[in-house]
Symmetry: C2
Subunit: 163 residues, 2 copies
Amino acid sequence: MTHRRTPDEQPETSEAYLQIGEVAERTGVTQRTLRFYEEKGLLKPPSRLEGGFRLYSEDDVQRVEQIRRLQTLLGFTLADIKEMVEAEEVKSQIRAEYRKDADITDRRAKLSRAQEVTERQVAVVEQKLAALEEMRANLQQKLENYRNWIAQLDEKAAAGSRS
Amino acid sequence: MTHRRTPDEQPETSEAYLQIGEVAERTGVTQRTLRFYEEKGLLKPPSRLEGGFRLYSEDDVQRVEQIRRLQTLLGFTLADIKEMVEAEEVKSQIRAEYRKDADITDRRAKLSRAQEVTERQVAVVEQKLAALEEMRANLQQKLENYRNWIAQLDEKAAAGSRS
DNA sequence: AATAACCTTGACGTACGCGTTAATGTCGCA
DNA sequence: TGCGACATTAACGCGTACGTCAAGGTTATT
């Protein structure tokens, strides 16, 4: 690692673009995984350097982290997640169209859609939270039992050594 | 389904034993899955009817439900889960050996092991709970934003219709 | 003893989520 | 212009967690 190309100088924009290696490092997934997510439509095709190198934005990094959370925390499949993150795109669209002042009813509809999806996500999260809390209670009950049994054994051992 | 054999009459014990089909129905997994779990060592080989039919106990049903929870709620692999449920066997062993009064230090060791595994499980559950709570907070923040934006749009629409 | 419902053990198939080469091209610096 | 680090696509591979036959045996009833 003698010299590291950091493509922080982008033609038109002042945003710091990242190559696939850096995104991989920062997000903890492999380059293969990033390309795979792109194939599967979970990440929009990123911009490219003239030579064809992928250039990711900070938003893309966020997206990847979101995907991973949905995978590991909620156990969704990538197909599920694709559905979900498509709601995120609405947000970007809204921002992009903000000045264009596109069809106002259209924007309202999109916002509503995003809201609905988000509400469903909240519901899923809360369901999972409830289940996990029940699980924790059960586990703690078990720990109680273990502690009691061990205490009993220790009492017996003490009594035995006194005899 | 004209007549259904319910093998509720077992030779020596008064426990209600279940055939694989009933267990499948009650747990929501397929028969294939039950055999698969057995192959993988997640379920101990159940007792058999003379003809070779598997006979499961209520404990086995519990076990299956536990496995499924660990899978769907915590996202563990079956290999992970195998490690974990092996601690459960300690409990059965303890019960079995209770009257035999086996080596007391041995039993203490086993209990300690089971306790440790359970504590690790609690830690995992709590970690997951924290992450999910953060996620819920984020989602609810998003909902706030959506609601505000929609409200803004509606205001504009109202203003427009008044002009 | 015939029949339906249930079960058995193989054994091959499949969807998902990437891993792993292989062959090749590009970037930035010396 | 040559080098090393970094990237590209294409294609095959793999582990996990089962699904899905196929061919046959068992159980309880009639």
